[in-house]
């Protein structure tokens, strides 16, 4: 089982609140990713990182921001949550190995509900 953790698992908050979703991995992976997934739907990449101090926007535009100050930690922040942000957020990591060949390891996800 992959050692990648996400907290909280569930979060219900009111509109306008600032939130941070935590993601940590103990595998020493350089690459980390955030995906957004609505129920029964595909995953959309919203952020990724090659390593410390590297962050990039993904395919799906998101109002969230990320930081990568430490290899093992890749938190996602929403400055002002809105009901449209209600979704499941999945964090993943992979090795910086042969191009394109490495599997991604996923955390259990955070299910966010904004009222």
């Amino acid at each position: 089982e992959a050692d990648i953790y996400q907290t909280p698992r569930y979060l219900v908050i009111g509109t306008g609140k600032k939130i941070t979703l935590e993601c940590s991995q103990t595998m020493g992976h350089d690459k980390m990713y955030w995906y957004q997934q609505d129920p029964g739907m595909e995953l959309h990449l919203i952020h990724y990182s090659y390593g410390v101090n590297s962050t990039e926007k993904g395919d799906l535009s998101s109002e969230s921001t990320v930081s990568r100050i430490r290899t093992e930690h890749f938190p996602l922040t929403l400055e002002s949550a809105r009901p449209s942000h209600t979704s499941q957020y999945l964090c993943a990591s992979s090795e910086f190995g042969d191009r394109g060949l490495n599997e991604q390891f996923f955390g259990p996800g955070t299910r966010l509900t904004v009222l």
């Binding site: 995906y35 595909e42 995953l43 999945l90 394109g100 996923f106 259990p108």
Partner: protein, 114 residues
């Protein structure tokens, strides 16, 4: 969908039967991966097939890849109730650079009844 079509969208079978799921994609790929997701959980990697491979096996799983048709199939033999989950294919484009960006399909929801 970013990727293409996965079919069927949902599949319901009895224990012991085989389950086949199909995935089509749009761009040239480096490799294709299949993942499993239990309800409300993260994804678990099942198998990876490279663009120069045609078939791969892992336990009760068999994956085929037809790059001329831009399609793949996942076969689960002798299914069990514990196989109930959503199954996603994901491709790595040949043009994605060095960070193996995965493009996911919409998934097939498999239900295996005892």
């Amino acid at each position: 969908s970013q990727q293409g079509e996965e079919d069927p969208q949902a599949l319901s079978i009895q224990e012991g039967e085989n389950a086949t799921m199909n995935c089509s994609y749009k761009t040239s790929i480096n490799n294709l991966q299949w993942y499993r997701q239990n309800s409300g959980r993260g994804l678990v990697h099942l198998i990876l097939i490279r663009s120069n491979e045609r078939e791969k096996h892992s336990g009760r799983l068999r994956v085929t890849l037809d790059t001329s048709k831009k399609s793949s199939s996942l076969l689960i033999t002798a299914s069990r109730a514990a196989d109930t989950a959503s199954y996603f294919c994901a491709t790595v484009s040949m043009f994605s650079g060095g960070y193996n960006k995965l493009i996911f399909g919409a998934g097939t929801r498999l239900a295996v009844h005892p």
